[in-house]
């Protein structure tokens, strides 16, 4: 047992500290309740043991006031805890347009990652320090779960779809990656290493090593080959909305609705263009349903996301 054990895993992400406070708060509250109940039980057991001569006149059989009190007080406390947990939870899933996306594919029994510029790695994941990261996950066989205790982050990777979770690494170092959803024989060996490095090191690391055309690059090629650029490119003669930096933007629709453009919105707009028509434009776009594969869709979405980064020159 040479490796020291820490009850609290290292706090490697900004959300981890917040989460530890929630846990501590809950621990104090539940601990107080547990100790209180235990103390009362022990006191009663000793004081009213059969051999004691303690006064026992008129033991209460019911007391509506007391019952209501210990119904309502826990209820209110629980509502508070619920709200705290829910707010922090929602934050993990709110897509941050500035976040660096990392695509992680889980398969029996390894983790494969692809970075924005196409750099790939297996069993390791390099991340920039202090920058919001969005891990986009899928699985190639069964359900796996991306679990980094140091970040207090866990998200299942589900075959057939993408799931995502966001966080901001706050401490450089190496952390354990586990698979938390039972996935077969070598489930316990499906671990990996997370390496958090300063942004400059990360940029250098990204640039070197094996890579292939990144998602966005592939998306740009597809954007042209499917003819999207014919209408959506700046200077096109067709009146079509500009898609630069669309993801995360508020969009006003023809029918008065308003929504935030996310992956699902872009996907729907390609496959079912008439569903959410942008205000001020004619519903002239043809549907691409059945003509464009899911992988290509993702690449195009990544290209559209990237176009926003280009504009704001936020490339790491």
């Amino acid at each position: 047992m040479s490796v020291p054990f820490y009850l609290l895993p290292a706090d490697g992400a900004q959300s981890a500290t917040r989460l530890d406070s929630l846990a501590l708060c809950l621990l104090l509250l539940t601990g107080a309740v547990a100790l209180g109940v235990l103390a009362m039980m022990i006191v009663f057991c000793v004081r009213y043991r059969a051999s004691s001569k303690a006064a026992r006149g008129h033991p209460p059989v019911k007391d509506l006031g007391v019952e209501i009190a210990w119904t309502l007080i826990p209820l209110l406390l629980f509502l508070g805890l619920y709200a705290w947990g829910a707010v922090d939870y929602a934050a993990l899933y709110r897509p941050d347009p500035a976040a660096t996306p990392v695509f992680v594919v889980a398969k029996q029994w390894m983790w494969k990652a692809e970075h924005r510029n196409g750099r790939r790695e297996v069993g390791e994941l390099h991340l920039p320090l202090g920058r919001p990261v969005r891990v986009v996950l899928t699985a190639q066989d069964v359900i796996h779960s991306f679990f980094v205790p140091a970040f207090r982050i866990k998200q299942d990777a589900v075959p057939g779809r993408y799931t995502a979770i966001g966080f901001t690494p706050s401490r450089a170092g190496e952390y354990q990656l586990f698979c938390a959803e039972f996935c077969g024989t070598e489930h316990a060996m499906m671990t990996g290493k997370i390496v958090v490095m300063p942004p400059s090191d990360y940029a250098r690391w990204l640039a070197e090593g094996p890579r292939q055309p990144g998602m966005a690059e592939r998306g740009f090629a597809l954007f042209r080959s499917y003819g999207c650029s014919g209408c959506h490119a700046a200077g096109s003669s067709v009146h079509a909305p500009d898609l630069t930096g669309l993801l995360g933007r508020r969009v006003h629709l023809q029918d008065g609705r308003e929504l935030t453009a996310d992956e699902a919105y872009v996907r729907d707009s390609i496959l079912v263009p008439r569903k959410d028509v942008v205000a001020g434009y004619e519903p002239i776009m043809p549907s691409f349903a059945g003509q464009i594969g899911e992988e290509d869709l993702l690449a195009i979405i990544e290209y559209i996301r990237e176009s926003g980064h280009d504009q704001r020159t936020e490339r790491p």
Partner: protein, 542 residues
């Protein structure tokens, strides 16, 4: 009327009522064809004890394997099959039938003053179904085992597992029908067979608890049954609504599975609450505090328990909004559970408390259930669950509820009603010793797992990083203690069958109707049909 006199009278009544149910026949055939709820309860008792120790052996091997981090005792596949066997056996073949089918079967008719359950033949049929299901599960295990975990998550179970999944599913399906029939029988019995004067608010809380449990059994089990059929079809024919390649959704399986399996937790713990609610007033010699609130809380838990299944899926890819709804509802279900704990504690106030073995088990139940319930709040809090789900924290949490809660209460109930069931007294000293050993062993086994979980140890790991070893060794040491604790009752209870002192009709001076008849009860339960004139728990401290 002093208690000694009343006992004497009861003895007389008992003899007049005819032979005890145990003396009705001694042949194997007389047991295997019986329709007497009391005998069927014993058939269940024997069979679930067998499965309990089988599941226990699997648990022992798991703990032994985890004493070292390398995973060197058994292979990864064997380990996976072990925890699956442990889960499947303990959940479906022990915990779910434990208190309802053994104690409930024996006591429900006695407690409401009926001669038997409404459908005695159905009752026997449900035992045979249970046995058939259990046999099929055993067959699956002997044929090579199942490695999916008791949760059978797709697409692992449908496309990737190379083990006997369909066979195990069939076994669970058959056991499910047994549960449904038991639940149906209890519901009809409570509604239609109560003795004259036995109004709803004169029912012992044990009856309330089993009634609420039966509602869940009847309404949730069929959903599991059909879901398992869909999994089996998908596995055999490669077509299924859980298959993403065909447009299905793996999360759909999780919804359907947990729609049953979360309420199933309440199937396990509600009857345990019922047992504690009988034992504590009896040994505190005073009425239970807030009887009506206790009854309402039981119903509230059963109903709200149906609404919270999505908290098993907070990180599964379910929508964030659904997560929020399920989290809120999960906090809500903790309220009636808290009410029950407070009421049990208040029941001790101004009591005249003695510490017989059943009481020690019941107090242990309250303590462990409280810890298990409170740690449930950590898991219901969304952001925290992102960190804790699928870690040892979850393992510790549900073992506190199911083993610390249900098994503790089951043993308490077995001790409490042992004189009634067998007509013999067990050794009180051994009983107390076992209760203390089990309590200590349990905490040593499972408390370290909370710490492991928060530190990030994922569940269902065959090997693990070295830094977790200390706590795992502690946990394994606790498991040894726990195993000794569970073997003790097997010894002294069996001993009492032959050498135990004959039990009077009412050794604990308890007030329930079941104590108003002889020990062991006559074939038709009561010499004359009882008439009820007062509520339960009419104890007096003076």
């Amino acid at each position: 009327m002093t208690s000694a006199q009343s006992d004497l009278e009861l003895e007389e009544k008992g003899t007049r009522a005819g032979t005890s149910y145990l003396a009705e026949g001694y042949t194997l055939r007389s047991w295997l064809t019986t329709r007497d709820h009391k005998r069927i309860a014993l058939l269940y008792a024997v069979s679930i004890t067998l499965f309990f120790f089988l599941g226990g052996i699997a648990a022992a091997l798991i703990r032994l394997e985890l004493a070292t981090p390398q995973g060197d005792l058994v292979s990864a596949d064997t380990y996976n099959k072990l925890f699956t066997a442990h889960g499947v056996i303990m959940v479906w073949l022990f915990l779910i039938p434990s208190i309802p089918s053994v104690l409930g079967n024996f006591l429900m008719p006695l407690m409401i003053g009926a001669r038997d359950l409404a459908f005695p033949r159905l009752n026997l049929a449900s035992w045979y179904l249970y046995l058939a299901g259990g046999a099929i599960v055993l067959w699956a295990l002997l044929a090579g085992g199942v490695d999916t975990g008791w949760t059978f998550y797709t697409p692992f179970s449908t496309m990737f597992s190379n083990s006997h999944v369909v066979l195990a599913l069939t076994g669970v399906l058959v056991v499910g029908f047994s549960s449904i029939l038991t639940g149906l029988n209890f519901i009809v019995t409570v509604h239609t067979m109560r003795a004259p004067g036995m109004g709803w608010f004169r029912l012992p809380l044990f009856v309330w608890a089993n009634y609420a449990t039966s509602l869940i059994l009847v309404l949730a089990t069929p959903v599991l049954a059909m879901t398992l059929v869909l999994v089996a079809i998908e596995r055999m024919f490669q077509v299924g609504i859980f298959d993403p390649a065909l447009g299905g959704d793996p999360l759909l399986f999780q919804h359907l599975f947990w729609f049953y399996s979360h309420p199933a937790v309440y199937i396990m713990v509600l009857p345990a609450m019922g047992v504690a609610s009988e034992i504590i007033p009896c040994f505190a010699r005073r009425p239970v505090f807030g009887y009506r609130f206790m009854a309402y809380a039981i119903l509230a838990i059963a109903v709200i328990g149906f609404l919270v299944w999505g908290h098993h899926m907070f990180v599964s890819g379910q929508s964030v909004y659904a997560g929020m709804v399920f989290s809120l509802l999960s906090f809500m279900v903790a309220v009636p559970s808290a009410i029950k704990v407070f009421n049990w504690t208040a029941t001790l106030y101004k009591g005249r408390i003695s510490f017989g073995a059943p009481m020690l088990y019941a107090l242990g139940f309250v303590g462990l259930f409280t810890v298990g319930g409170l740690t449930g709040l950590f898991l219901a809090a969304l952001a925290l669950d992102v960190h804790l789900s699928d870690t040892y924290f979850v393992v510790a949490h549900f073992h506190y509820i199911m083993v610390g809660g249900s098994v503790m209460a089951y043993l308490g109930g077995i001790h409490f009603w042992w004189p009634k069931v067998t007509g013999r007294m067990y050794s009180e000293a051994w009983g107390r010793l076992a209760a203390v050993v089990i309590f200590a062993g349990f905490n040593l086994t499972f408390f370290p797992q909370y710490l492991l979980g928060y530190a990030g140890m994922p569940r269902r790991y065959h090997s693990y990083p070295e830094e977790f070893q200390l706590l795992h060794v502690l946990s394994s040491a606790g498991a040894v203690t726990l195993a000794v604790g569970y073997l003790l009752p097997l010894g002294y209870l069996a001993w009492s069958l032959r050498y135990g002192r004959a039990a009077p009709a009412n050794p604990w001076q308890a007030t329930g109707l079941e104590w108003q008849t002889a020990s062991p009860p006559p074939v038709h339960n009561f010499a004359q049909p009882p008439v009820v004139a007062r509520g339960p728990y009419a104890y007096h401290t003076q």
